[in-house]
């Protein structure tokens, strides 16, 4: 199987970047369908439910986009670090600490004009997330401690730190649960239903809010940063070939730190969505695994914003449609959808090259035949 040699320069971009991911995705979904079938439910019905749940009515669609927002942030976070060949597994912890940044800025500066509070809160989220990523970055660049190990550990540290703060320092003392007080209502980010209210459409509650636009802006930001600035150029140079970067006078240390801080900052922006947009307070464990799923989003999206957007949307569909399925099909639990996610990660990440040679050589042969004919 591995004997197929494909001349990479002859493979059209759309084969390796569109067809191959689609084939992998289809396989993951087929295997998932098998699971659903074994669980005693009809896979076709499940697909229908997923599609209905995520597109079928406006509130469902809003939920889909809300999840998409989070996945864009964490997917971009992983992608930026990856361009410097750093595996930032710490999106979860960086998002958690980013939330702290949003909250502290918003609650302490709520006397300022509202748009300025928003901007500063976004800045706070980025800064706190970046600061949390800075420590592993420093350890990697100066001490050679592997960033995979340190960022995983920093997820645990972030989690413990936040629990400590939520229990002993910033808890809303009027109650017992580990969460803070709510932010003043006037600085909440406008929700989707508030917007549609202005347009005269009345819809039911959904967590979708203005942060979605921030996520779209972040996609552009990352694209511009990585491919259009000298910083991105240097980051990629360090990632691809550190020796060559040193030869050209590009500092690996500096770029590892820059890449990780931007990565952590992007993960931190998840806090804007969750705290300024949705729950308006810090709750224990609010990043809820988005940081980890972001890795899969980035892998599926081939670390490019143009790929991350549909990948994040796909995971949004799975999250929203999945909860619809668990609602309607008693045999399918929430964990089944964790397994589906796992399968997608397996097929589009770990087994990414399983069928790539076959698919690529198939297209190369076909296209050559057309040229020769």
């Amino acid at each position: 199987m591995s004997n197929i040699v494909v001349d990479k320069s002859k493979v059209p971009w759309w084969v390796s970047n569109v067809i191959v991911p689609l084939v992998n995705l289809t396989l993951a979904l087929l295997v998932s369908g098998l699971f659903v079938f074994i669980a005693g439910e009809n896979p076709i019905e499940a697909v229908k439910l997923i599609i209905y749940g995520s597109f079928g009515y406006i509130q469902g669609f809003a939920y889909t986009l809300y999840y998409t927002t989070n996945f864009i942030f964490t997917g971009l976070a992983f992608a930026v670090a990856f361009h410097c060949r750093l595996f930032n597994i710490g999106g979860e912890g960086q998002a958690y600490i980013g939330g702290l940044g949003v909250f502290l800025v918003a609650i302490n500066l709520s006397f300022l004009p509202v748009p300025i509070v928003w901007l500063l809160a976004i800045f706070g989220a980025f800064l706190f997330g970046a600061a949390w990523a800075y420590i592993p970055a420093y350890l990697q660049s100066k001490r050679g401690s592997h960033v995979v190990i340190t960022t995983i550990m920093f997820n645990f540290i972030a989690s413990s730190l936040m629990i400590f703060l939520l229990v002993d320092v910033i808890r809303d003392t009027n109650q017992m649960a580990p969460h803070t007080v709510k932010l003043p209502e006037e600085i909440w980010l406008p929700s989707f239903e508030a917007f549609s209210g202005i347009l005269g459409i009345k819809i039911r509650y959904s967590p979708l809010n203005l942060t979605f636009l921030l996520a779209i802006a972040s996609l552009f930001f990352v694209w511009f940063l990585v491919w259009k600035t000298k910083w991105g150029y240097e980051m990629r140079a360090v990632g691809h070939n550190t020796q060559a970067a040193i030869y050209a006078g590009i500092s690996p240390h500096k770029n590892i730190i820059i890449a990780m801080c931007i990565s952590g900052g992007l993960a931190g922006l998840l806090g804007v969505n969750e705290i300024l947009g949705v729950s308006h307070k810090i709750q224990a464990g609010f990043p809820a695994g988005y940081g980890f799923t972001g890795i899969a989003v980035a892998l599926m999206g081939r670390n490019h914003p143009i790929g991350i957007l549909p990948a994040a949307f796909l995971f949004g569909i799975l999250y929203q449609g999945g909860s619809e399925v668990t609602f309607e099909m008693p045999n399918i639990t929430r964990y089944m959808f964790v397994a589906v996610q796992g399968l997608i990660i397996l097929f589009s990440g770990a087994l990414e090259n399983l069928f790539r040679p076959q698919i690529e050589s198939f297209f190369v042969r076909r296209l050559n035949r057309e040229v020769n004919a």
Binding site: T229, A237, H240, Y247, G249
Partner: protein, 506 residues
Amino acid sequence: MVSPILELTDINKSFGHVQANKNINLKINKGTIHGIIGENGAGKSTLMSIVFGLYQANSGSIKINGKEINLRSPRDSIINGIGMVHQHFMLVENFTVLENIILGFEGETVFGEKLQKAKEDLEQLCQTYNFNIDLDATISDLSVGFRQRVEILKSLYRGAEILILDEPTGVLTPQEVDELFKILRSLKSEGKTIVLITHKLIEIMDLTSEVSVMRQGEMVGHTKTEDTSKEQLAEMMVGRSVLLRVDKKEIKKGETIFKVNNLSVKDDLDVTRVKDVNLEICSGEILGIAGVTGNGQTELLEALSGIRKVESGSIELFGEKISDQNNFLNPRMLKEKGLAHVPEDRQRMGLISDFKAHENLIFGYHDQEPYSKSAILNNKEITEYSNKVMQEYDVRPKSPNLITSNFSGGNQQKIILSRELNENPKVLLVGQPTRGVDIGAIEFIHQRLIDMRDKGAAILLASVELDEILSLSDRIIVMFDGKIVGEKENKNVTDRELGLLMAGVA
């Protein structure tokens, strides 16, 4: 007559377009130490890797004791009594000597009897050959010399009758070399056959009874060691091929602009590789550094270009001290001062092979106008520039958006050269400019270097191709073991003289 223990007939091996071995014939007699000598890249290691089953020859046959055998993997070779000690040892660092030696030949699932037996056998072997190794020592605690002994012991334990040693002395201290030679002689007296691959003439004269010389993938001669001399071997090694002289104007030497004082440099393993080097280069002059690879040229160039730290001594550019052990300018600052560097290893250092050609064409200059302005890359300028230089340097194909790894070696080198020459540097450091480059491109590259010289640049050229050094340089220095062992004006100097200096015998 007894058939030779190892006989190679018409061995051919090529890697892509490079033919590493051409119609090699070799006979090795039992109980001898047979030397194989040649410059780096002559194909010695490739040939021996074929004998050891690491590579398969494209054609030709291998006979052991007159019987033709088919070697598909090192396992086949071991079964046929061939052992090899590589330049880089293949040992598990945190295993003991005993564990390393039986690795893959344990013979039992739970260690017990057989392990004990192995230990006894090994102790016997150690005694026979005077190895003096503690079998329970951990590899990571052993010196390089002892590790090499472990490798030899491993081969012997596995029943090697023919032992191939690839540049065994490269990593050893002189005392360790003596010890090794003692062991090799005692192996020979016990009837083992040894094949010694080296580029050091002294070792050949010292140790071997027969010697074969390789040059550019071909076997150019076999002789008994007693019938030859170092001078004769050096001549065979370097070759008497006609030099490719480049049209070159009379030198117009200007003032000294680049000066190196008592420079010492260490490599990543903390071994001093450049020892107390002094040199000066004038404007309008090409100074060639001849030497066999691994004699400090790489580290010297890296230190001069700001990549590697200076251990002691200093470097001066236009009379201004730019680097010593306390301060050194990084490559970017040196570029701004007019120093450009074409690195030896273009894949590892000169280029990022996954980048597009246009990204590599500005590599290291990417933060200068007009390529970028306030941190934003100006793609229009970069593409325009790329089209221009790719035309000028005849880079094929002329597509700035093609990924660099899809270009041939010569064209990749042209990409680097165009980038480094474009700013008209005052000092140019060049390492192996034509390694793996086709003949057409070689001429082009040489002409560009001569043009730079005529424009008044001071050029330092390090190359293992003696022809290249002789045809381009105005003055030649020879490096051996980190030191400059000779300096000659490039007039009436012969390749033979240089060859001797390079081999460290003159």
